[in-house]
Symmetry: C2
Subunit: 427 residues, 2 copies
């Protein structure tokens, strides 16, 4: 892409290469990841294409993309094996020679010496670049990326492994795209993350605040509803976007979680860390997934003491010390049991807060009053114990995931409501 | 597709429609799911394409796919809103009229009466079908699928939500594809699932057993390595495939997990159920994910008593009763602590077996001898206690996931080795 081109004209096609993506062996996670990276930088992805490791097919797709986009990002096909064919395909599609890059070879030989591996002819094919292309270093693997400006278009070729591709794109490609004006330096949209409000009511709240030229898209996942507000191609909108987001946040109220992409567990860990408080969990139907959501967050060991995953009634009694009469009188799936589990978790683990989940994840279980999907939550804090009942839809894994997000969101709200009061009680 | 066409000629293109797939909002999980379904039935997917909710672009892709494939499967764009445009796009690409289907309207009105919702003009657009097309019922949503045989090709249009799409494809589409000879009735490949052997050594073991015409592909995920053996287009290979798989299984030995797609936790739950045995877990660095893997499996409540997720040292001492001297002398990340955690889990939960994990998931933690990624496992059975140390690579989430699979695989091996003996000890 030439310096003279406007960023606003940047239109991308993403081409993912690999038989495993078409044979049902691997999910194409690169498309969603690159799509988000590019959307954040104001680049519109026109189309995604997934093709086999076949040179002719790859070349045809490159030629096709060359007609419609000015940024083409490819993943895969860059390795040392015989089915890694993207270099030849690109050269043939664009009528460019492949030239050997001696810097690439030196880096590769260095790496192999450290790994105590022999360099094979296949490995050396990774040092070939289309003429005029630039090498993108890959400190995490053997195959460098390729960056080519040609005929007013930019072609970025990335290796397949996510652990190599992602840092390479963030550290090397985004800065190059920004510096040639293809991508914006600033975030191109504001994302309002909510929980507890549907997409339609959220749209009704958000729409009146938008300025002409701003666009609105929605994403929903496991109870979370995101509203993305983009400035589109208007600089005036860009400047006003944060103001608009602030107004929307105030309108949305308690259902507002954050702006951006943070997950509920991350926010809760941050909140508890800032308060200097700790939490312990008592889980039945979520079966460890609530604890796992917390422990996905680096630094969570400072706030999460642990979780008693009590899948059997005996375990609830023996490990958490739930009175057996609560289970026999009210059942293990009940507000009473949830309250006892939250209190017992806080006591047994010696934490400030206790959070519990018990319910029917399905497909078996459930009663007439409490069908499959019914979940009771318990929350114990220095200022009291609360319970809550919800009925969730979906299969077993979806009910587990939605129960986890519902629990995290409920604790977030409780901390917002009662956090200061709790501090006073515990002081 | 006509009856007279051979199944062997079936070549598919998958077209996924939706802005959210290109804006980085949603992962395109449909491609991998449909890819697997079709591969199992001997249909080769040539290409996958993801496009925006734009009628012209969708029509261009349909026309393009019409040139190269004889089966086209689309997802999304079928709903009642203004950006659901696939019906018009298909009609324009193929030069077909859209006709109103009164059966579809009757079904839709019935459904809306039950949901107590008003029928809008947008909802009624879901009753339009390209002329000559067949309705595919959708008991789980408002938008039916569409099945069209035209010009020697088959077009299958599916709604976007996975909970509607998947059963519709399995129950309604696959049988139609089989009956017209486009898909095989039998599984078209055998998948050998392994753990603990790399793809290259596995290929060296598998390759000599293959018959001419058989093809081999590999998939790796979280320590699991799958070898898929396909009969290709030879009927003779089809008949011999199971024999070949059996020989390979015997060659692979203990690293063989199963044929097919079952996950480690499912197999372990089945094995424990068959033995009438129970297990309890003590988790540190996996933080609940090991318990969650078990509890993803319906019926796991019969064999999993629970998990003590002890993220802090205090919790290991207070909840599991690990002697504090073990932690002070050997550290919480040690073989000694893993052994104590496995034994204590089995005791506290009253289970036959105990399985434990303690390690450094990163990014913080680790020592010179035990760097980030070092994991100790403990296994307590009626006939003894064992420990194991591994060093895993990857970021925090990958280390958690790999530690879970390593623990499950290790317990599977131990049950295979010692299961019978354990039975004698506990009898």
């Amino acid at each position: 892409m030439e310096q003279t081109q406007s960023r606003k004209a940047c239109r991308a096609v993403i081409l993912n290469v690999g038989d495993e993506l078409l044979d049902g062996i691997r999910t194409n996670g690169h498309l969603v990841w690159l799509g988000e990276q590019l959307a954040r930088r104001g680049v519109r992805v026109l189309r995604g294409s997934v093709v086999r490791d076949e040179a002719e097919q790859i070349a045809a797709e490159i030629s096709h993309a060359w007609e419609e986009a000015n940024l083409i990002v490819t993943t895969g096909g860059m390795g040392p094996t015989r089915d890694d064919l993207i270099r030849q395909a690109v050269a043939s599609a664009l009528g460019l020679k492949l030239v050997h890059n001696s810097q690439a070879e030196a880096t590769l030989r260095d790496r192999f010496v450290r790994l105590r591996r022999e360099v094979s002819p296949g490995d050396l094919r990774q040092c070939l670049l289309p003429e005029g292309a630039e090498l993108i270093p890959n400190p995490r693997g053997t195959s460098p990326g390729i960056y080519l400006s040609h005929e007013g278009r930019t072609l970025v070729m990335l290796p397949g492994p996510g652990l190599e591709l992602r840092p390479m794109f963030e550290e090397e490609v985004i800065p190059r795209l920004c510096s040639c004006g293809a991508a914006c330096e600033e975030e191109a949209y504001v994302q309002i993350r909510t929980f507890g409000i549907g997409a339609v009511p959220l749209e009704n709240l958000v729409r009146p605040h938008l300025l002409p030229g701003m666009t609105l898209t929605f994403g929903t996942h496991t109870g979370i509803v995101d509203a993305r507000i983009s400035a589109g191609e208007s600089d005036a909108c860009c400047d006003r976007m944060l103001d608009v987001a602030r107004k929307i946040r105030d309108t949305v109220g308690d259902d507002f979680i954050c702006t951006g992409h943070a997950c509920l567990a991350t926010l809760l860990v941050e909140q508890l860390t800032a308060m200097g408080s700790t939490v312990a969990l008592g889980e039945s139907c979520t079966g460890g997934l609530l604890a796992s959501a917390f422990t996905d967050v680096p630094g969570s060991s400072k706030v999460l003491m642990g979780s008693a995953v009590c899948y059997s009634n005996d375990a609830k009694i023996s490990l958490l010390g739930i009175p057996s009469c609560i289970i026999s009188q009210h059942g293990a799936v009940s507000a009473e049991c949830a309250a006892a589990m939250a209190t017992a978790a806080a006591e047994k683990f010696g934490s400030d807060y206790g959070l519990s989940v018990t319910g029917y994840a399905g497909p078996g279980g459930g009663t007439e009053e409490d069908p499959v999907g019914t979940i009771y939550f318990g929350y114990a804090s220095p200022s009291g114990v609360w319970t809550r009942r919800v009925v969730l839809v979906g299969d077993r894994l979806q009910v587990k995931a939605r129960a986890v997000n519902t629990a995290l969101d409920w604790m977030r709200r409780n901390l917002n409501c009662y956090g200061v009061e709790d501090k006073l009680h515990s002081a």
